[in-house]
Symmetry: C2
Subunit: 581 residues, 2 copies
């Protein structure tokens, strides 16, 4: 029987609790958002004693279901003030599941200021160890040291200096399949919440753990196979398909051609240097340089999409991982930088400091607009990131994210919603994703309702990106389905396959139903997705959010975006209608 | 006939418009809040093209009514995101009124970045002059230069470097009776809004102006005399009374004895060094030092209370003005500093840079808690203020106020409401003023419902400061009456006299009714006060504010405040009931 591991940072206790009946079918985002909604006072200070961080593997995490190693991290966000869930693909998720841990709830507040702890979890229990020796270190130094200390079979959750300094762009870091500190629940500053609680690492070892109970193995296996088959068939997700061959940065050229690649702090949708930072360029350079570089790399065992990569220095030695779309875009087009060695270094710094690449890139772009550097100046961008590590006053500004930096520098063009900067798709050129950014409960986020599929990729149907028509309904449907997927433990990228291949969708549902022993159908996907969204929305309303927070940054209403020269023209009523369900 | 002067910073035009019928009876806050509510989109960016700044003298400003030279400055606040009104006593108010200007509306957005303008207004009209030569200057340098250039009869509104840099603690500066840049509409960052628009100064000369129309001179004079008599009789406001003799800092010892003097960033209500920074100490030192020091100094002609002062250096030469209660507290007790020469210097720097003393002191205290200085280190406090002038990254943090600084430094104990730091009365020890801070539409502010009168001073009745009982009603009544007073042009300090002396209250109403030709009674005071509050509240609701924003900082709910060891215990329902009218 799975347990909840409750970690109290006031008393330094870690206790296993039975899972209440109401949580028994839940996993991932469904579970983190439910626990946060049940236990966290919505108006609490995100970095005070009454916030909590909840970590939960998905429903099928820990099994051999394909691409199922996602971990959800939830709490009240210091970046947005909303409820938050951010998920990552990592062996850590599989470890928790196989250790019989349905969720870890981190609560309380350290009695001793500036003291940090490591929680060691294995089949025998959980214990606290001092983590002071790792404080101030880069995670590229700390993670290898931890693997040396705890063994190669360990999995590690950690925060970097960003989290230690309670910066709102601090993410929660997890190891990848080779132990790199490169898989992030990056968005929303949950690393800062862990920092406020003094929890620096959780190190797991699932050796000898009870493993994952599967209620109906036949149904589970039927579903698993259908989904696997769909993933192996679809052009986007198959071996040798778009994601596997070029990584997610295959989108750079595609979005640029669509005029929707946000460039130089969202002042254009077209970047003249796009081809130099494209997925094609990444793949080609990795091939040319040889050595440690890799395309088609998995973030966790059981992943069959394998969209990750390892970027080499010109001499072939390993530089960083992952040059993926949103990260390359954030430091590339959005900062006017067309050099993959620069984006690779900036991504490496984010992983090392424990901060979100999307928020970091957005922040550097706002800083550039505020006069701290010229757009395109990669060296200066790297220097600005160093300030975060050093914790200088400038670093303290940047570390709080783009909206904060914009306010410090008097920059009006800050492309955020609810305090979180927009990712790599321009709302004025791709209206559906704009509706998702603006209306979802967690601030500007692309993964939470990825309408790019039909608007740009002709996956799951086809929608004109420029028209405001029908985008509320489109976003609503994507947000509902995504809330369910975020709860399964499956990677969101299964969506490409299951949107086009009905058997894949069935497989997703059947594998979850089989594991849990339910008779779920597609209707339950919708029901559960709606339940999750409503719960998150209710938290935000109690925290003081209203329709006025479901609005775009004002400048997008009056500044036309080249090359289409479109403004934001989805009516407010349409935005509000997203929540009519 | 009065006009509205509409100043467009996009086109650099200044045009006189007839006053619409609906505004004809309005003045001060009633008028600024009404124009802002009518013309400003509540969700606009406070520093973007769609915000406006409205300046309005009060109903009786410009006449010989006693202490009637208040000017209101309104707009959407970059500090709080709410509607804002902040008023100051200055000859500038009287100039506008005597020039027949009911309000100045500053709107638009500069085409040329970094360019600043001066608007010259006299009986012949308004014209723009370049102000670039004053940019970056301290206001102690600029104001004398402007008086040299435009003559000693001028009155000046200005912003300092804080406003130029669009800092959220930037106030709007007005000259005092001797031309000092020392009278501030300090709160809420309206100086930053003017900075975003590129308007650096308005210089008026009322010579030859049409003067103020008085509809019923007899009624006006009757009222004026009654109010004058009340002010000359009441112990607080009379010549040789508490305010005149010791200045507003007479409150330091009183609040300290009540355990309600916020000390070291609101971590105590008692400051062991209080007597050294008290009004008594100020008066005594000014007397001892001789020279330029003055007690009982008026901020504008017609003021008969004269609570201001001029602080001398030890050698008797002029140092700064004004050592008043909230400023001395902010830099004194709240920073653990017990040296009036230090508070005097910090106040001088605020005046010079154009920033709010209350927000500045609160910010330094949060910075001290965040480890940038020890509490009590005056020299370091001065150095921190210098950072603001220099516009360093640290200065950019501090210049955005206490909440922003707290976030940058990871400080949880930030005693603000709606982003504005609390003034000099501790809500846990004086509950009624806490209700005012928390529920009023403009962020933590003491002047907007000064329940200190009955809670501490036994003026207008007597209320136990420590009990939560009855405080919602008390605050509501004060907020309603104050909204009216803020519209009259009278100094809020008339409240002491009119709360205790019925004829004084009648005089206030009759002087306004006489000027306007209305038959107002006490009922109209209530009616108008309610109208103003409701208008402001509606703006905020449209901007996205809810009951969740009418809540105290969380730490006050769980941290008992010495010496009474009280937490905040006014129920949320009582807070919400303030708006039940």
């Amino acid at each position: 029987m799975s347990k909840i591991l409750r970690v109290n940072m006031t008393d330094l206790t870690a206790a296993y609790e039975d899972v209440p009946e109401k949580y028994k079918l839940m996993g991932g985002r469904w579970l983190t958002s439910s626990i946060v909604a049940d236990e966290v006072e919505p108006t609490c200070h995100p970095l005070g004693p009454n916030n909590k961080v909840v970590l939960a593997p998905g429903i099928v995490s820990g099994t051999d279901a394909p691409s199922s190693g996602r971990i959800s991290v939830g709490g009240k966000s210091p970046l947005t003030g909303t409820i938050k869930e951010s998920n990552a693909g990592t062996p850590f998720s599989q470890h928790l599941a196989r250790l019989g841990i349905k969720a870890v709830v981190v609560e309380g507040f350290p009695k001793e200021k500036g003291k940090f702890w490591l929680l060691r979890v294995d089949k025998d229990g959980a214990e606290f160890l001092p983590a002071d020796e790792y404080v101030g270190q880069g995670l590229y130094e700390a993670y290898p040291a931890l693997f040396d200390r705890f063994g190669k079979k360990a999995a590690i959750m950690g925060i970097g200096v960003g989290g230690e300094m309670k910066m709102a762009m601090a993410g929660v870091c997890f190891n990848d399949i080779d132990g790199r500190p490169s898989r992030y629940s990056g968005r929303g500053g949950m690393g800062a919440v862990l920092g406020s609680k003094g929890l620096k690492f959780i190190v797991t070892d699932d050796t000898g753990g009870p493993g994952v109970d599967i209620a109906d193995k036949d149904l589970f296996n039927t579903g698993r196979k259908k989904l696997t088959e769909a993933l192996r068939t679809h052009d986007v997700t198959k071996k040798g398909g778009a994601l596997n061959t070029y990584g997610t940065a295959v989108l750079i050229n595609i979005l640029n051609e669509a005029g929707g690649l946000p460039t130089r702090n969202f002042s254009s949708g077209y970047f003249e240097g796009a081809s130099k930072i494209s997925g094609e360029a990444i793949a080609e350079t990795i091939k040319q340089r040889g050595g440690a570089g890799k395309m088609g790399h998995p973030c966790h065992p059981e992943c069959i999409i394998q969209c990750s990569n390892v970027w080499p220095y010109p001499d072939g030695t390993e530089h960083s991982s992952v040059q993926e779309y949103e990260s390359v875009w954030a430091f590339g087009a959005n900062c006017g930088i067309d050099d993959l060695d620069v984006t690779g270094e900036l991504i490496r710094l984010c992983n090392d400091y424990g901060v979100d690449t999307i928020e970091s890139g957005g922040t550097i772009a706002v800083a550039m607009e505020g006069g701290l550097a010229e757009f395109g100046d990669g060296q200066k961008a790297i220097e600005l990131m160093h300030e975060i590590d050093k914790g200088t006053p400038l670093g303290r500004i940047l570390g709080q994210g783009a909206a904060f930096t914009g306010r410090a520098l008097g920059v009006i063009r800050v492309p955020g919603v609810k305090g979180q900067n927009m990712p790599a798709y321009s709302p004025r050129a791709v209206k559906g994703i704009g509706v998702t950014y603006i209306t979802n409960p967690q601030g500007a986020d692309h993964t939470i309702g990825y309408t790019i599929a039909p608007e740009i990729l002709s996956v799951g149907g086809k929608a004109d990106p420029l028209t405001p028509e029908g985008k509320a309904e489109l976003s609503r449907n994507f947000q509902i389905a995504t809330a369910f997927i975020d709860s399964t433990g499956y990677c969101l990228f299964i969506a490409f396959a299951i949107l086009d291949i009905p058997e894949g969708f069935e497989g997703m549902v059947e594998s979850c139903a089989g594991l849990l022993g339910t008779n779920w159908t597609a209707d339950d996907v919708t029901r559960i997705g709606k339940e999750i969204l409503k719960k998150e929305r209710a938290f935000n309303e109690a925290a003081g959010f209203t329709k006025a927070d479901d609005r775009p940054p004002e400048f997008m209403r009056y500044e036309p975006l080249p090359p289409h020269n479109q403004i934001w023209d989805v009516p407010d009523e349409a935005l509000d209608s997203v929540w009519e369900f």
